[in-house]
């Protein structure tokens, strides 16, 4: 491996994931967390937002309002929609020129596609799906990721290589509110890619449901127990004014889209109320919802591990329980009335 002078590398970069001007919320979460990490960095270093896209001036300005000291903007039609090859080449050129110490990327499907691509040519150390970040006494990034289904948190370091890269699971950190008075510098960089160098072409792109479960106050989540029929979960979610989420099993079976998956390789949620319907409670799932205020479990298996991780549980047929619960809440205009 080539020797790297780690002292040449400075600043924290955050990749701002945007699609047609719409920013993935995890990007702002990362800026907020990176701002905390900046306290452990020398004063002359900057928090840099990296915006790659087409017509992204508004995104660049929002990045300043959300905590960035500087925004690097690569603005060109070649970058819309996202493709790994042009984004990767642009990132590689920027890293070679500017030598960032740390680069943080959201753990979405796009973020994972991008991170895996760009870490190799820059010979970066890349840690996946982190839920904790810190900087040690020697200035190295400590990237904590749940391992073995969240029973342990492994701390990954990259001492001899730069940049230190990590993808971070969406929903773990709180974004900063927009502060329009914040000041920062927006810098347009040279576009390093030409269309005739690309090897992919996006023929169609259809993004409809971009619901963000990480923001929800109440969640009703479906597991393998629903056996492909989401209707009871959807009815209960409607009665509780909740978002629908799912375990990996339900996503892998194709019953519900990946954007609504909770747990390892999905999202971290922390609602006031989390209702697990037909979810056995695999550790990989628990990891994504353990910070919920109140957890309710509905399952027909009294030995399901989910009951150990719930505040209230009921053993029974989930179809019946869901519909009876819907009825109980709908009969009561004021939910407190069900107490009577």
């Amino acid at each position: 491996m080539p020797e790297v002078d780690v002292d040449e590398y400075k600043d924290i970069w955050v990749f701002i994931e945007e699609h047609a001007g719409e920013v993935a919320p995890v990007s702002w979460e990362l800026l907020a967390e990176a701002k905390q990490l900046m306290d452990e960095k020398p004063d002359d270093e900057e928090l840099v937002a990296l915006v790659i896209g087409s017509d992204v001036d508004d995104v660049a300005e929002e990045a300043i309002a959300r905590g960035a000291d500087r925004v690097l903007v690569a603005d060109d039609p070649i970058f819309e929609p996202y493709r790994a090859d042009p984004y990767g080449k642009q990132f590689r050129e920027l890293v070679a020129e500017r030598k960032p110490d740390i680069a943080l990327i959201g753990g979405t499907t796009t973020g994972r596609d991008f991170a895996g691509r760009v870490a190799v040519p820059t010979h970066a150390g890349l840690t996946a799906d982190c839920t904790q970040l810190g900087i040690d006494d020697e200035g190295h990034l400590e990237a904590g990721r749940p391992a073995f289904g969240g029973n342990v948190v492994a701390t990954i370091k990259c001492e001899a290589h730069r940049p230190q890269m990590a993808t971070i699971r969406p929903g773990v950190f709180e974004p900063l509110d927009r502060d329009e008075n914040r000041e920062g510098e927006i810098e347009h960089v040279d576009v390093a890619v030409e269309e005739d160098e690309t090897v992919t072409e996006v023929l169609e792109r259809e993004v409809g449901d971009t619901a963000d479960i990480t923001d929800a106050d109440r969640i009703v989540a479906a597991g393998g127990g629903v056996e492909g029929d989401l209707s009871p979960v959807e009815r209960l979610a409607e009665a509780l004014d909740a978002e629908v989420a799912a375990s990996r099993k339900a996503v892998d079976e194709g019953w519900i889209q990946h954007a609504r998956q909770v747990g390892q390789t999905g999202k971290t949620v922390r609602p006031e109320l989390y209702v697990a319907v037909g979810i056995s409670g695999a550790v990989q799932h628990l990891e994504g919802m353990n910070d919920s205020d109140v957890v309710v479990a509905i399952n027909n298996d009294p030995n399901a591990p989910i009951f150990d991780h719930a505040d209230y549980g009921i053993v029974g047929d989930l179809f019946e329980v869901c519909d009876e619960l819907v009825a109980a809440f709908e009969d009561a205009d004021d939910p407190q009335e069900v107490l009577a």
Binding site: F148, V152, T200, I314
Partner: protein, 262 residues
Amino acid sequence: MTDNWTVVVGIKQVPDEDDVTIDPDTGTLNRAEAAAILNPPDRNALEAALQLKDEVGAEVIAFTMGPPTATPVLDLAVALGCDDAALISDMAFAGSDTWPTSLTLAYATEYFDADVGIFGEETTDSSTGQVPPGIAAHLDWAQLTYVEDLDPRPEDDQLVATRDVEGGHEVVAADLPVIVAVGYGDNEPRPAGLHRKLYAETEFEPIELDAEELGIDPDEVGLDASPTQVGGMDTADPVEREQKVVDSVEDLAAAIAEEGVV
């Protein structure tokens, strides 16, 4: 136009997740005792590769990077319909993180002169998902990740994929050669045929390749060539819960209402 596509499919043997237990006293993991299985997402990778065989007559070669004890996954690949399979094994690979792992698999992909390399979305024992894009980056090839469906277009030397993107789908055409990562559960893996199974169990012997045969400098792989190191392991604190199991839906509704969360 490339005649007769060669498709390689990378697979891995992993401990059965359901079998990994944790010693409650020491907090250490009993991985050694867990059954060794084919990484579940690799079933979908194999199926996608075999569909290309059905559709365009591709030759499909499976490979795995691992110890000699990993050959059962190669037998399974051959039983399912792969034309051949290779064990990529060398002490020099020990301790590799995703950087040298993807380098090794990139060399193996080139060794077989592949037009398409197909992999699972991630492995269940490390779940990084970094290796397929890493291979594409080492080779400077196109990459298609989180793929739900493949549409081969040999007349254009292209592979068209439907991909899962956050909140929707996209259709992407990639010029060959290309690396594909198939979404976990996104196709219906076929069962092994009886004849093929018999062949895999009795006659089939995997190709064996080491670092030298792949043209890999041992200094490029293994622990010393891995940019990341595990700095420590901490046991996660359990979250305290009430663990009250109620008898009726009325009681449950009342409990939820009392928490003031609806």
